[in-house]
């Protein structure tokens, strides 16, 4: 309770209330996250259960009864007779899950490695930063393609669907950790020579404790900003990978897979198969980006 009232009274919250863009972005993000979470209860259909679909419902126009089955779908149906509205909700779940997990993975991995590299220095630092170089050498899409390829090689064919999502998370996460590592390492290099850390060292605190208690909190600001922007990037990256044919499986599509499928219908007039998933992705990525932007400015003491 106290934490909440503290937060409500805080400078950050005040600045948040004063920024209409941030408030709108927050509301949109929250709405999207909530509808993804409660998709099974909101969606009129479970598009991930192929046996329940009727192919003849395919390409129904939004709000117009299907000529064969007479069923009506608010946002129309896609080429498999899936209700676009339900598919978006379920796809949003996959996209958000992949995005959040990938960023969490990258953040934890990158921060830990960056902290160790910056604090320990010497050979450890060299090795970690050289690994980061290798990582940077492969552009994100290539890393993801590579991991996808290897995962496909080592998992038996029958499990590929189950692992596909986890491979995506691993692939996007692995291509993203270097940013966190660099920022945290940079901040650690600055902090470690400051008097308070030196003092902590002198009174005999363990390196781990110093890192966690004193250095990490000081890097939280920039890490949070990177994390927010990475979330938007990760969701887009998943879509891009889907275009290259290594995204979420078509029977359990993410927003990116839906857009990849939908772009095939751009010229044919079935605009709804592309438009609604694209607008959803745009709304999600845009509001997360705007939140990240606002957060960056708000946490930057020099800009107050």
């Amino acid at each position: 309770m106290e934490a909440v009232s503290n937060f409500l009274a805080s400078d950050l919250f005040y600045r948040f209330r004063k920024s209409p863009v941030a408030v709108i972005a927050f509301i949109v993000t929250a709405l999207l996250v909530l509808s993804a979470l409660f998709a099974p209860w909101i969606a009129p259909q479970n598009p991930f259960d192929p046996g329940s679909l009727n192919l003849m419902n395919g390409f129904s126009q939004p709000g117009v009864p299907n000529q064969f089955t007479g069923e009506t779908f608010m946002l129309g149906t896609d080429d498999q007779g899936r209700d676009v509205f339900s598919t978006i909700l379920y796809g949003l779940r996959i996209s958000l899950f992949v995005g959040f997990s990938a960023v969490m993975f990258a953040m934890v991995l990158g921060s830990v490695l960056g902290l160790i590299a910056g604090y320990t220095g010497g050979r450890t630092d060299t090795i970690i930063m050289r690994i980061a170089d290798i990582q940077l050498t492969f552009p994100a899409i290539l890393v993801a393609l590579l991991i996808f390829g290897i995962a496909k090689g080592i998992t038996p064919p029958s499990y590929r669907n189950e692992v596909a999502i986890w491979v995506l998370i691993l692939a996007i996460g692995l291509s993203d950790w270097v940013q966190f590592a660099r920022v945290v390492r940079g901040a650690t290099l600055v902090e470690r020579n400051k008097e308070y850390v030196q003092a902590a060292k002198l009174i005999g605190r363990k390196p781990m404790a110093i890192m966690l208690k004193h250095i990490l909190p000081n890097t939280l600001g920039p890490v949070l900003v990177i994390a927010t922007i990475s979330l938007a990037l990760a969701i887009i990256a998943e879509a891009t990978l889907s275009f290259l044919g290594v995204g979420a499986p078509p029977t359990q599509p993410s927003l990116g897979t839906l857009i990849r499928i939908g772009q095939g219908f751009l010229f044919s007039g079935e605009y709804w198969i592309l438009l609604y998933p694209a607008v959803t992705l745009l709304a999600l990525a845009l509001s997360v980006n705007l939140l990240g932007d606002w957060l960056r400015d708000a946490l930057n003491p020099k800009l107050k």
């Binding site: 259960d49 046996g51 192919l55 029958s158 078509p250 010229f267 044919s268 007039g269």
Partner: protein, 530 residues
């Protein structure tokens, strides 16, 4: 008429035709399709887009026309030698010159066939039965086969003739080996007898062909195209955009959903034709247990009732209506109608009947269904991934949970040849137009030289013997009876689940008069402009 005066006459007519064609307007055709030809070497790759480009520059003895019917090209007539059923005789066209000016003679045919039979040739499987090719005189060639081979000419329509002297001068007397370590001259240079000559080539980017002013076919073919600019455009949406915006004149591979848009656009039209390719599902009925299912210790597909139930569960009409937008011909057999052995009875397919299928599943002891992995390519056939998705739904209705793994063809096909998939999508064309081809690859047990695509693991010694007998059976009636018998087994055992025959769609400018060719192989010498 002596040979000399014959040539003279030919030269005269050529000169006359050439004289008139000066006044014909120059027509440039900008042609695009999804993939580029892989090489200009005519014997290195047995692959559609590669042959399609080669057909403009090089010529075979017998060429497919725009209906894929064989017509005389470099051979004017061919027949089985009197008194020896093992020998085919080909009479060659006289007075033909290669683009470089060399005369075409029997020597070039012998050379080209020997080249195509070499280890590094990708065409050698089609010539397996040929023992020897010999020149009788300058314009007669004999081909001796292992036994009688009544359908040999069918195998020769993509077998191009090169000039022996040119090949020797440029050190390309054999097709490139994969471990040669360098580029051979024939990969990007060509010297054929065809209606078009190579002007320039940048692989994957742009290939320019110019009309051959000395083509032998003047007067026989329209030959209205004077220049061809060929650009591969991989991304389907971009390809359609290029046609809609008028940047290209003809595209192959129009996505089915864009047909209406193209047909409705000003100055554009769509042509279509049934393709020589059947799409079907393969199921592993031969193994004792499956690797990719959840049934322990036995193979549910081994029970013919399960296979029949699956066949009944597939709603081919719905797939045609929705997934293919009407652009397919549903079928009950894994061969297109062009093929010798096809009958409308075989082609008939059952209406989807979920209740009856469920009953069959129950009878087979799988009333509660089972789980299995389905493998599918996503960049090979028209809407391949969507067909599989639809099939997953249909299987779901009779309790079979199919987990779909859709991947690129480079990952998909090794699963079939390596016998690592139990339920997969495959498309099959029959270039020889004869059932034997289908049986050899898809029905015969897997041995060193047969059954390499038989992912069903179906194996029956009696059927194998019948298939082997087809190769040398000269009595065509008896041969056709055997073919019918084998098809009966294939259908009764429900070794495969046929879906449909593909339909080809080409989008083009309205002023182009050009039929769609069932092999997806345009022959631009036939093209006319209105």
């Amino acid at each position: 008429m002596s040979k000399r005066s014959k040539i003279l006459g030919l030269l005269l007519t050529t000169a006359m035709v050439a004289g008139t064609s000066v006044f014909a307007s120059a027509e440039t055709l900008r042609w695009a399709r999804a993939g580029d030809s892989l090489t200009l070497d005519p014997h290195s790759q047995n692959e559609g887009p590669t042959h399609a480009l080669s057909q403009q520059i090089y010529e075979p003895l017998i060429s497919p026309d725009m209906e894929a019917k064989p017509i005389p090209a470099l051979a004017t007539e061919w027949m089985v030698k009197e008194g020896n059923a093992n020998v085919w005789v080909f009479k060659l066209r006289e007075g033909v010159k290669f683009h470089g000016g060399e005369d075409f003679t029997a020597e070039d045919v012998v050379f080209s066939f020997n080249r195509a039979k070499m280890e590094s040739s990708d065409m050698k499987e089609l010539l397996v039965t040929i023992k020897e090719v010999r020149a009788v005189d300058d314009y007669t060639v004999e081909m001796e086969t292992e036994g009688p081979n009544p359908i040999l000419p069918n195998n020769l329509t993509n077998l191009f003739i090169m000039d022996k002297g040119w090949a020797e001068a440029n050190d390309v007397t054999k097709p490139a080996e994969f471990d040669d370590g360098e580029e051979t001259y024939a990969v990007r240079n060509a010297n054929g007898t065809g209606a078009f000559m190579l002007e320039s080539r940048e692989p994957d980017t742009k290939t320019v062909l110019k009309a051959n002013p000395d083509y032998w076919g003047k007067g026989q073919f329209p030959l209205e195209v004077t220049e061809i600019i060929y650009t591969p455009i991989q991304n389907a949406a971009t390809r359609v955009a290029a046609l809609l915006s008028g940047e290209v004149d003809l595209i192959q591979d129009v996505p089915v959903q864009d047909l209406d848009r193209v047909a409705g656009a000003d100055g554009l039209k769509v042509g279509n034709a049934p393709q020589n390719r059947t799409i079907f599902f393969g199921i592993n009925s031969g193994d004792a247990d499956l690797e990719n299912d959840n049934v322990e210790g036995k193979n549910p597909f081994a029970d013919v009732r399960v296979r029949k139930a699956m066949n009944m569960a597939i709603d081919r009409d719905a797939i045609k209506q929705v997934v293919m937008r009407g652009q397919s011909a549903p079928t009950g057999v894994i061969m297109p109608p062009f093929v010798n052995g096809w009958t409308s009875e075989l082609d008939a397919y059952p209406k989807a009947d979920i209740e009856a299928a469920k009953a069959l599943m129950m009878e087979a002891g799988y009333g509660d269904g089972f789980e299995v992995t389905m493998h599918c390519p996503n960049d090979r056939y028209i809407n391949d991934e969507a067909i599989c998705q639809a099939a997953v739904g249909m299987m779901g209705k009779i309790g079979i949970t199919a987990n779909l793994v859709a991947q690129t063809k480079a990952n998909h096909f090794p699963l079939i040849s390596g016998k690592k998939t139990d339920f997969y999508l495959l498309g099959w064309g029959v270039p020889t137009f004869d059932s034997e081809y289908v049986f050899n690859f898809l029905v015969h047990s897997t041995t060193d030289d047969r059954g390499s695509w038989n992912g069903s693991r179906f194996s029956n010694p009696e059927v194998d013997a019948m298939i082997q007998s087809l190769g040398s059976e000269v009595d065509l009636e008896k041969r056709n009876e055997t073919i019918a018998k084998i098809w009966q087994v294939v259908q009764d055992e429900q070794i495969y689940l046929p879906i449909h025959n593909q339909v080809l769609n080409w989008g083009m400018k309205s002023n182009i008069d050009f039929p769609v060719q069932p092999e997806d192989q345009p022959h631009f010498k036939f093209m006319k402009f209105n």
